[in-house]
Structures are given as structure tokens and as C-alpha cells.
Amino acid sequence: MNKLYPSAEAALDGLLKDGLLIASGGFGLCGVPERLLDAVRDSGVKDLTFASNNAGIDNEGIGKLLRTKQVKKMISSYVGENKEFERQYLSGELEVEFCPQGTLAERMRAGGAGIPGFYTKTGVGTQIAEGKETKVMEGRSGPEEFVLEQGIFADLALVKAWKADESGNVIFRKTARNFNVPAATCGKVCVVEVEEIVPTGSLDPDTIHLPGVYVQRLVLGAPYDKKIEFVTTREREAV
């Protein structure tokens, strides 16, 4: 079966419609599936819900789809550095479900692993736990209170990776892996954009981060002009 598609638009063909729940990888501007997000924007679908750690920044990542008002709801842990987001949220145009970062990652992982819910200590006693079932169970240090969180079963997962082979085995690079792995697993369909596609057999099977079973469609997104949110450097010591 061929998983390779000639463009991001082609890779999303037949998958997009209004009202979808889309899980997206990325942390800040790192490891964001920008080609696929651009193609979603260009398709014009709307009322989308995104499960994504961040909401991009102004005119980057999901920020582009906020600007075109295609997003109905965000499920995120951190949405700073985005003025259009703030404006839409404060005016009530955009719904936001704040979710602790680890809980969000685990909700995706759980969904991808067929687990509809799990108990966690994160958020107990805070407004995150309001309206959710809680239970006292044996924890690391004796009986503790836990809150029930739900797995995420997304209609579509959008992922950015470094390399893939033609069978869909995927490798990420450094901290660009982040949410891409859990997001990939929780989508009914997962589309991955990569910097390089190599022939099947040329990746070491021991180094695969995301096995091909999770990947339905692949597109080469290169060349990339990767963006850095905060460039921080040090001086070289004088010799």
C-alpha cells in the first residue's frame, strides 16, 4: 500500500470536513506540522477543535487558523504569546479547555492505546478537577485522591517528523518529538509530514520512534525554514 502523497493538500484529500477534532504535535514552534496546518487552512473547513499543547503564535502554526476563524475550540496547556488568540478568547469567539500539559499528553497516549479514561493526581483540588469524578486510591505514598481524565480519540492527527521510510516508520529529531508521538497514536487517521523520506530498509529498526502502523499518510514537507521563538546563545570563552 502506498502511503506517499505528492503534497500536503493531496495527503489530506478526503479527510477534512467541518467540526473535526484534530490532534496536532508540536511544542511552541518546535515540531509543528506547518505544511499540513497550511493545507487545512487553505481547505476552508471550519468549527475545528484542536488538541494541541500550544495554539501557535500570531500567524505561525495554529495561529494561522485562528486568524481565519476556522477554530471553534482549543484543548491546550499553554497559549501565551498569541494576541489574536487572546482577543478571540476574551470576546467569547473561541472556546478553550485548559488541560495540564502532562494530562494532555497522557490523554492522547491513552486514546491511542484504547484507554478511555485514567486517574491522575495532577489537578486534584484545583478548578481542573471541578465537575470530574474523583476517587481515593492507593498511590505512591498511601491512599490519595485522584481525578478521572478522559482519553482523546481524535478524528485526525497531524504530525511533523524528521525522517520516514516509505512504509511509514518514523524518526524524530531532538526536542521536536514532543507531542508528535502521542498525537499520532490518538488519531483515526494520522498524516505525517517529514524532512526526508528514505527507502524502506534504510532506517535501523531499533531506532524507530513511531512504528508505521500508526502512520496512514506521508508527505515530504521540505525544504523547511525552521523558526525559533527565543534565540539564546552564550559567548565563546577567550582562548
Partner: protein, 211 residues
């Protein structure tokens, strides 16, 4: 004289022990990395999927794929490991990280912390803070003793939405250090910045604590 930002970070750094895995928050907590006591090795964890954070890269060697949780470019070390976000928070939630140092807007006398939102004003989100305070073995807060308006930040009960309930072990402010041995005990005033008196602390603190 109150401690400055670097001195507060240096005080928090005294709590580091050899072999510790540590998560440092944004701001003053980040400075703790500059004061690791000689002869001990700690490994810094970044929520976005990295153990073994190295220093900022040399100019020209920045890598967009290599950032910390504050989205700043960093470098890697010989012992660095990368992993995904679910794995990252499994080690946080699972109690495998020894120490987290973070900032706060309010701390209550029973160890509650508020540091993620001001209703109607700040809507950035909690990021990984709720997971960290719930899962990491020891939590140190580093913060100014009072707000910019001069109001106490160590108070009887938090007024802002909580990040965690009864989770804080130690508070380092610009004026003093409060500590408690376990989550059932009250905080104790254990150290004063040079020239600061216990009376000054009492005047600037509404939380109850023991001396």
C-alpha cells in the same frame, strides 16, 4: 539587605544533591543551574522531552529542534536523552524527578500554590506546572516576599485559582526561607537574608508559620 535574584537562586541551589534529576521553571528558577555546588552532578529535565539540558549554544550553533520548556535554544550534553511528551510527564507524574523549583504568585500556609492564572487578566495556561507540583518528590518555590504593590504572597489562603493543593515543601523569598519536613507540618522560618529581622518577616507575612 534582601537577597537579589541570583542570591535567591543560589540559596535554592543549596538543596541540590548529587545525582538529583531536577526540573527548573522559567525566571529565577532557571538561574539555579548557575549555582550547582561543586562536586555534585545534577541532571536537568525539560518538560518538552529532554534530560540533560546543556548551556545556551554558541552563537551560530542554535538548533530550532533543540529548545527548553521556555522555548529558548539550548545545547545537549554527553548524557542527554530525548523522549516524547507522554514519557516526559510519566517521569514527572511517576515521582522519578527529585526536585522542581518554580515561581509563584501566591502560597498558602498549608502549602497550596497559585501560579497559573489571574481571572480576567492573565490567560496563558498552566503548562506543566500542575503536573510538576503533583508528581515531583520535592517542590521549592522561589518568589519575591511581597507583590509589586507590597502585599504579602505567603498568605493564609490563596485567592487565585490553585495550581496544586498542599504540595509545597520550601519557600525561598528575597527575605527569608520557610521549610517544612512533611505536608502535615506547618512551615518554619529557618533562615533570614542578611540584615533582615524576624520582625520584618512577621510584618510582611500573613500566613502563620513557626519560628
Amino acid at each position: 539587605m534582601p537577597w537579589n535574584r541570583n542570591e535567591m537562586a543560589a540559596r535554592a541551589a543549596k538543596e541540590l544533591q548529587d545525582g538529583f534529576y531536577v526540573n527548573l521553571g522559567i525566571g529565577i528558577p532557571t538561574l539555579v543551574a548557575n549555582y550547582v555546588p561543586e562536586g555534585i552532578t545534577v541532571t536537568l529535565q525539560s518538560e518538552n522531552g529532554m534530560l540533560g539540558i546543556g548551556p545556551f549554544p554558541y552563537a551560530g550553533e542554535e538548533d530550532a529542534d533543540l529548545i527548553n520548556a521556555g522555548k529558548q535554544t539550548v545545547s545537549e550534553l554527553p548524557q542527554t536523552a530525548y523522549f516524547d511528551s507522554a514519557q516526559s510527564f510519566a517521569m514527572i507524574r511517576g515521582g522519578h524527578i527529585d526536585l522542581a523549583v518554580l515561581g509563584a504568585m501566591e502560597i498558602s500556609e498549608n502549602g497550596d500554590i497559585a501560579n497559573w492564572m489571574i481571572p480576567g487578566k492573565m490567560i496563558k495556561g498552566m503548562g506543566g506546572a500542575m503536573d510538576l507540583v503533583a508528581g515531583v518528590k520535592k517542590i521549592i518555590v522561589v518568589m519575591e516576599h511581597t507583590s509589586k504593590a507590597g502585599d504579602p504572597k505567603f498568605i493564609p489562603e490563596c485567592t487565585l485559582p490553585l495550581t496544586g493543593k498542599n504540595v509545597i515543601d520550601m519557600i525561598v523569598t528575597d527575605l527569608c526561607v520557610f521549610q517544612r519536613p512533611d505536608h502535615d507540618s506547618p512551615f518554619k522560618l529557618v533562615e533570614l537574608a542578611p540584615g533582615v529581622t524576624a520582625e520584618e518577616i512577621a510584618a510582611k507575612t500573613t500566613a502563620s508559620y513557626v519560628i
